[in-house]
């Protein structure tokens, strides 16, 4: 969908491979059990992201703490069912909700030294490294589209956008990229 849309020496937009996504709503008391079953400790600080492994490769795990009791869990597509089963088993004694939202969103990677400046074309957040350090993840807006922004490194952003709104986002980003070329 995005091939060649935004591809310059200063930044590049790549579509993520198919992934399984879950929204976990759970109290703090359930965190330890959930992290153990998931294979990655869920970040306790709000608006923090954690990961290990390589995106889309077997064993990769992503956990994003986006609301006071809300975590997004992203794993390779094939591992979705087993992760869900493991979490449900581990959380049986805690009140919680675990909802699969794999196909609700599409994932993107925006990388390059100009990535933050390009995002600022539609997102009013402060992307200086003091205000938005690597490891921070949050929901925000890009023009009229809600999106999730996770900064993995100074020039590396992982984005999640609702599937039906992704074409709008990609086109708007490509339009903004013209100002930077």
């Amino acid at each position: 969908m995005v091939d060649g849309f935004v591809d310059t020496p200063r930044f590049r937009l790549i579509e993520a491979p198919p992934l399984a996504r879950f929204v976990l709503r759970a109290p703090d008391a359930a965190l330890k059990a959930a992290g153990k079953a998931y294979g990655l400790a869920l970040p306790e600080g709000l608006n923090q992201g954690a990961s290990h492994g390589e995106r889309g490769k077997p064993g990769a795990r992503v956990a994003l703490h986006l609301g006071p009791d809300e975590w997004w869990l992203i794993v390779p597509e094939a591992e979705g069912p087993e992760v869900a089963a493991a979490l449900e088993a581990a959380l049986a004694s805690h009140p919680h909700s675990l909802v699969e939202v794999s196909h609700r969103q599409v994932g993107f990677v925006l990388e390059g030294e100009g990535a933050a400046a390009l995002l600022n074309a539609g997102c009013p957040l402060d992307f200086s490294e003091q205000a938005f350090p690597p490891g921070m993840a949050t929901r925000s807006l890009f023009h009229r589209v809600g999106l999730m922004i996770w900064r993995m490194a100074p020039g590396l952003f992982r984005l999640e956008i609702d599937r039906t709104l992704a074409p709008y986002f990609v086109t708007a980003l490509a339009e903004a990229a013209k100002d930077h070329s």
């Binding site: 709000l46 608006n47 986006l66 609301g67 006071p68 809300e70 009013p124 957040l125 205000a131 949050t138 929901r139 925000s140 807006l141 809600g146």
Partner: protein, 105 residues
């Protein structure tokens, strides 16, 4: 663009991430079988419209998703203070004459 401090995220965020959600600290009367039509109408429809500092509900809808309360000045649009839903309105956020009589110093 205004910056609004989300008491859950603990940081200043752009105003377009937020939604206004009406007056704060409105208590629902009850139990329902003992509430008069007048009381119920007042709960549903009657609101103060003061000039100055008002307590409002806001939601960080394009962020952490949580509701919180904010004291805002309707004249200057300054957000005096924000605090989590369920917490009492900080007394220092309002000039004494605007507080309900029973809470005035």
């Amino acid at each position: 663009m205004l910056l609004i401090r989300c008491p859950w995220c603990g940081m200043d965020r752009p105003e377009i991430e937020f939604r206004h959600a009406g007056a704060a600290h409105i208590t629902r009367p009850g139990p329902p079988d003992r509430v008069s039509d007048e009381e119920w109408a007042a709960f549903l429809y009657l609101r103060d419209n003061p000039k100055g500092r008002v307590a409002e509900r806001w939601r960080h809808v394009h962020g952490c998703g949580r509701f919180f309360n904010a004291v805002r000045d309707t004249v200057t649009d300054v957000f005096v203070v924000t605090y989590r839903a369920g917490e009492p309105r900080p007394p220092e956020s309002a000039p004494p004459e605007t507080l309900p009589p029973e809470t005035r110093p």
